[in-house]
Symmetry: D2
Subunit: 138 residues, 4 copies
């Protein structure tokens, strides 16, 4: 991905990048794609009725990761208070989805891969949230 | 919109709809469209350089409203803890965007309309969040 | 929705609204929400394995309607060639999803409602596409 | 990204992956993020009023790439006719956005990077569209 290149050339950033946030952007886009794929693969499984909750959480996680990745990509002006709330919500979405996927990991390899992507994204969101310090309530 | 009809015919809902949540879904989709429009109208204004923060908050608010509207539309399985976090983040997104739009309301009618849509969506999110009670940490 | 109010106050539009396009925006946002709901309701049905294709088409239709609604909301600058391609793709997405939902309409009321929303959005996209005349290949 | 791993473990795919389509998915997600970033960086530039059309095309391209990446990720059931239409629309979105970004590439490095990401995604969409052969009008 080009997140690092793009953000380091932003006129208000000029090289002073928040590397934890950039890594988080990359994980959010990756996790969003992985969750769309996992929902779709679960839907094709013979025992789909046992995977309803997994599909539900995959779809929710894809939506939250997608929105969080877009917000975290913006550096014009500021919206740190909201960004932090979204990073925390995204960590929660990944935690829930990753835990559910892990329950099906031994039977479905796509769930094992997705559980791992969710765990990486969850950790990246937690780390990035720690770097976003709203100096004041906007 | 068809949110009420669709959710009242969901096999797990069967008429026991959460009307506050359904109203919130409608406001989220409306506010998402309004914020996309307001960002675009601000971008065309002669004094666009004074509207950078407004455009930024409009784009963020559109993303968060879009994701929240999709999550709130799902009634299969459960994800109440995340839904509540997203409703709260969405209320914050609307509060920030509505406040900024209100600053430009006297000069730009689109900002006045958007400020009002944000306020309605913020209130609907707050009300809906109060009805979503995670019985346990999932 | 506020699409008409927002677009009629856009500095480059100033009242000369394309009413067919505005109606199409509203149908796109409505159909996007309806398809998210229908995918979710189908997922909860006892015979979910017979609704796999319906869920797939619902998710695709929601994505295309969402993107088309956002594109159609923008009036700054111009992108008529792409807008027309997206309106045509969206009409196709709605046609396919509406046809599949109609097959399940007698058994599942949510599919009947969704089939009707898809048909309305399909027609609105076809009508709007006819009003978008790219004067030249951009 | 995990697109290759996810799709190769889909129960209906089982290793018979369409590698051109998978590469296209990765380019779509990358280009979507790059365009969100470029719109935001352009918005912060001193000469923002000269970048209105660039921002407009960036936002449109991000929306179309996002929707196309999600559609292309789904392998359950089939929707080849729509997928092809979206791949073609996405190639067009990337062509238009890439051409506009290239006009500003000498002044703004983010536009140069974005122009290149758009060109890669355009080519990946064209190549992938050639592999998606709807056997019949669905």
């Amino acid at each position: 991905m080009h997140a690092m290149q793009m953000i380091s050339t932003h006129p208000d950033v000029r090289g002073s990048t928040n590397d934890e946030l950039i890594r988080c952007i990359e994980e959010c886009y990756d996790c969003a794609q992985t969750c769309v794929s996992c929902a779709d693969a679960c839907l094709a499984e013979r025992m789909v009725e046992e995977l309803r909750q997994c599909i539900r959480l995959n779809l929710d996680c894809a939506d939250v990761c997608g929105a969080t990745g877009r917000l975290a990509s913006r550096r014009t002006g500021s919206n740190e208070h909201l960004l932090r709330a979204m990073l925390e919500a995204c960590a929660e979405a990944c935690r829930l989805c990753g835990t559910e996927c892990a329950r099906h990991a031994s039977q479905h390899e796509h769930c094992a891969i997705c559980a791992e992507a969710c765990r990486r994204c969850e950790q990246a969101c937690v780390t990035a949230a720690g770097t976003v310090t709203p100096s004041r309530r906007q």
